[in-house]
Amino acid sequence: MIANMKYLRGLIAGDRQADRVVPPSGFTAQLTLFAAAAMAFLAVFALALSLAAGRLADRWGDELARSATLRIVAPLDQRQAQTDAALRILETTKGVASARALTDADQQALLEPWFGPDLALDTLPVPRLIEVIENDEGMDAAGLRLRLAAEVPGAVLDDHSRWRKPLIDAAGRLRMLGWISTLLIAAAVAAMITLAAQAALAANAQVIAVLRLVGATDDYIAQAFIRRFTLRALSGAAVGTGVGLIAMVLMPDASDAPGFLTELAYQGVHWIFPLLIPVLAGAVAFAATGTAARRTLRELA
């Protein structure tokens, strides 16, 4: 453990001499930086997508599962009587936390986006809506339907499950896609770093041969490469993540109209996750370069 810490500290602080034994490489270094930055940029959004889809699924699942709507479809003269009857039944139904009949004003507000503000609601046979909020136990929808059928013939209970389920499924699928994308990005970073490290090791075959001849251990040689690629991936990913986050902050704010777009931005503690991207990129590069270096070195004298 102590040896590991020492190794890590050495890796971060760096041995200036060890760094110098591998010749600097200009162009390929920039390619690695660029690829790491691009991948981190994409990862910011893939991660945001996963988290947002997760939140969406949770919210839809949570809020909608807790509420149901009772529609009273009756001639205008019987509507109030049936509403009162339904409310009485709901009050005595187990699992119902509260039930509230929407007022004309509420219903007017709900219909306004579709019919405009000048609608004369009282002239139309609009069904009365009763909003039912369930408590934690949940209610027995089937039982409630039977009781309502007997006493309030015009009542239709909608517990939202019909349209809620496909939405939750879709959100869940979206979340999975987001995570798969994030994983693919990590794998692509590993592949890219492995290729770059492999190329660097091949290009420096003579350097490695000289170092072996004068008594350098494999770890010493590997570390010079590992450090280089880890730092490149780390700094490239930091830049990419930074740009990605800026893009995310600058995304058009549409919080008044709840839509998917606003949901995409990170919320609360989730802002920590994208900050982990550079660290993860560094870790992936560390592992990938280490594996590539040790495999290459084993084949040399």
């Binding site: 034994v21 010749p23 004068v214 008594g215 350098a216 494999d218 004298a301």
Partner: protein
């Protein structure tokens, strides 16, 4: 120091070396000679663990090379200075840094800071080339820089494979004098060369034994040389 016992080596198609037994005692001075392609370089490589024998045993400082892992080999290389015919350096570093490389890779870089390096560079006559890059050096300068690099760790053994292959007579004499001096300091020296006049020139200064590779075997050459 270095001990070969019934060693054979083949690159696949037939044996290049077979049944070789050889012992390099501390402080000895050996020449290894034979025609081109006879296996001089192969034998040298067996002596510093770059190749494993296909048969028999090679013992380096008492340890059988087959039982050594890569880190053990690295440790042994710090006790064996090697000069190749075709010397390789780190071309992006200056001569003094290249000479110090064995110290650097073994984590003893600080030791190079004291006067040893200057002394060593003046010993091989490269003081005013200390900052030059290896590609700028002449053949003789490269060989001398390689020798300095080979001895900076104060190794017990110095192996030189055709150290005078690319340089003129004057320069090879100078290089040889350096190797003789090392031997007088107690280092074991093994030089592979096909240059018989070099061997004759040396014999005047030091008690050297000549090993000849012929018919895949190593024989002790007679006194006629």
């Amino acid at each position: 120091m270095i001990e070969l016992e019934n060693v054979a080596y083949s690159y696949g198609g037939g044996e290049l070396l077979s049944d070789i037994s050889l012992k390099l005692a501390p402080g000895s001075f050996h020449f290894l000679t034979g025609p081109s392609g006879a296996g001089k370089t192969t034998l040298m490589k067996l002596c510093y663990g770059a190749l494993l024998p296909t048969a028999g045993h090679v013992r380096l400082f008492g340890a059988d090379v087959r039982g050594l892992d890569r880190d053990d080999i690295a440790q042994i290389r710090r006790r064996v200075g090697v000069v190749h015919q075709d010397v390789k350096f780190l071309d992006h570093l200056g001569v003094s840094e290249n000479v110090c490389l064995p110290l650097t890779v073994s984590g003893r870089h600080a030791e190079a800071a004291n006067g040893d390096l200057d002394e060593l560079l003046s010993w091989v006559g490269l003081t005013n080339r200390a900052d030059a890059l290896p590609p700028e050096l002449s053949g003789g300068e490269r060989q001398r820089a390689a020798l300095a690099r080979a001895v900076i760790m104060s190794p017990d053994v110095v192996l030189a494979d055709e150290p005078t292959g690319n340089i003129d007579w004057e320069m090879s004499q100078r290089l040889l004098r350096l190797l003789i001096e090392l031997n007088k300091m107690g280092k074991t020296v093994l030089i592979a060369t096909h240059d018989l006049s070099l061997i004759r020139a040396t014999k005047a200064h030091v008690q050297a034994r000549v090993l000849r590779i012929a018919n895949r075997r190593v024989q002790l050459a007679g006194a006629d040389l």
